[in-house]
Amino acid sequence: MTFSPELEARFARMLRNYPPGRQKGALIPMLLYAQDETGAVTPELVQEVANRLSVKPVEVEEVIGFYSMLRRKPMGKYHVQVCTNISCLLTGGEELFEHACRKLGIGNREVTPDGQFSLEEVECMGACSWAPAVEVNYDFHHKMTPEKFDQLIDSLAKRQ
């Protein structure tokens, strides 16, 4: 498998960050960064990463299901994550999530038919003081309201 030159450069840098012989340390970040390009941790990616880090594929498999951001199936181009944990719950996170389901027409961990959006109810993501919070891919959106949410989705949809 080949990745973008930027990612290859990052991997090369990353591998130097661990003690000699312990490059397995790069496993989890490597999977996450690669997933950002490939959309999901595919069997080919497992093999590729195993080869690059000289580990057995089963060692890669072991971590995939452990880390909730790693996934075997691709999500939408815009992965909309709505937090409903305690601080967000108190400030309307749950209603926001339900609103998001209606707005996008999909349920938790589902993808819109056009592959543009996916939705996930997530655990606390460190935005409690500015709750309720939504993260689209890696961008945070604070103090969300259903109206702000609609605007956000509409502008993303326009961006395509």
Binding site: P43, I64, G65
Partner: protein, 692 residues
Amino acid sequence: MPDVTLTINGQAVTAAPGTLIIEAARRHGIEIPAFCYYEGYSLQAACRMCLVEIEKNPKLQPGCTMPVAEGMVVLTESPKVVETRKAMLEFLLSNHPLDCPVCDKGGECELQDMSFRYGAGESRFTELKVHGEEQQWSPVVYYDPARCILCYRCVRVCDEGLGVTALGTQNRGVISEIIPNAGDHLVCDECGMCIDICPVGALTSGTYRYKSRPWEMNHVGTICAHCSDGCKTTLAVRDGEILRGNNRDRSGINGEFLCIKGRYAFDFVRHPERLQSPLLRVNGELQPVSWSEALSAAAAKFNEVKARGGRFGVIGATRTTNEENYFLQKFARQGLGTANIDHRRSGDVVTLLDALSGRANALATVEDLYTAKAALVIGSDLAQQHPLFAFQLRANWRHHQLTAYVVTPGPVREDLYAARAIRSEAGKELEAAASLRDDLAKSQDLVILFGDAIKGDAVRRLVEFGDSLGIPVKYLCLVDYANSRGAMDMGLLPDLGPGYQPTQTRGLNWREMLADPALDVLWVVGEDPLEETALASANAFVVVQDLFLTETAKRADVVFPSASAYEKTGTVTNSAGQVQRLKQAAKVMGVKPDLDIMGLLAKEMGLNLGIWIPDKVFEEIRRTVRGYNVALPVIATGGAAQTGAADGRIPVTVPPELIRSAGDTLFTSGTLGRYSGMLRSVMEAPGTLYKP
């Protein structure tokens, strides 16, 4: 460091510093329940069953990871501890199927036993259970995630014990489960250790599951019929049929270890092609006849040839018992008056014993492989050919930091932890080993394991090399089958009698017998030499004792159906020279142990070769065979007794071409392997063969 003293449940207990509470207690008869703890494997403290109360400690502590300390006061059955155990069991059972009546593990399940002892009689869990579908991972391994309690014993035994690392864990939290290394199936040794070690019914054996309840079977501890490592296997038998092999009581020289062959490859016993009636050649065709007919035909021919001074050739086997082999050579030498007796050898034990003659403590036992400071493996892929020895060395490395050196033609699994692994072409092994001299000499002691790569004069040079290191060195000559070593010890050799006593005349070796155009009788007990070499004498009368109609049996005039190792008693000697006792497990109609066949034949011939009861013959062996005067109670109670070394020179030179290993792997075992449907099914299952 001096022992520490502590009290457990009011009882004063002493233990070495660093001993875990669970072990200290166990050694004093106090059982602390545990699921994840397994002696000899890494500590998990995951199941929390072993939580105990320790004075001055506000929190309960896991007995499986907490070492003893001077003056410690431990309570393992206090109300708080017992309540906690009950709570842990309640948690464990919450998502566990409560269908013990239909679970394969019922009756021997640690969770069931523990619930019986501590658990609540009713469940407060009324939610929906987490459920995962059962999966088949190989012809012999099934996994049911719903039953798995995640004690990680299987993962550890595979990774730490075997060095295979075929198992892992997937997901997290309550949906965590064990996964095989090849996606939906296993690529591994198929040793089944994971099944054995599983405390519950999560991992089950493809050959045994749902066949029987454990209490319906007799459990017979005997010795594996396959390779020469001599593992104890406990065969579970119902109505004379072996239903499974395992090693849960860990009482043999192999501890918790068994490989695929020892665990599953007993099915040759009931193979449909098993001979169950004597055969006699009538009008050119082999036909079933009665025992008396077959015996008298063979006896008449033997007597006739003997009377006219004709030429006999007798070939014995590496799977028959010591008693049988001893009796066979006695039959040949005294009864038939021939010196032409031999068997197929796979390691040059003779030269080794000669080179070590007069020394004490120069032969390594299986235990030595676990305690030696250093080991040198020459020319053998141990994990494939001598799985127990490989396991022992690995355990030694894990527990005592064994320094291992490997000299082999190709990569082997020992490379993974070896201090140095050298690749050497055939015939150059000694030179390669010599390059390790400085490293080896630094060690406190050393065990050298070698197979057929080192033979004849090379063995002497190896011993000289060992002597030159200036440290205590022990040797282990690797041979092929369950009693390869015993066949030599018992004198199935053309020039050496029992205990390697030189004979007056040197007879023909087995190749010479087959090549002798004037041979009158060829008597083959448990071997199949004609699979490899043709018989030159067209007129030879051939008598064969075997389980199957082998190539040799097909050429026979009389064929006696014999009992396999699992159907008889007697003793066998492993590669390391350790004698162990077979116990009869299975029953097969129409067959007789080779010893009986020989005894009846002697009787039919009018010979007096003495009584042919295995115990009586072994008595004679103990009296007459050098090195076999072992303590009877040891072997009678299922132990292994090491035979002594030779105490005098053995004045022979062994022709190197007679030493050749069959090169069996984990999945093959000569004739027996060919008739094991299970071994075949594993080999033929797509993509399951494991290469290190």
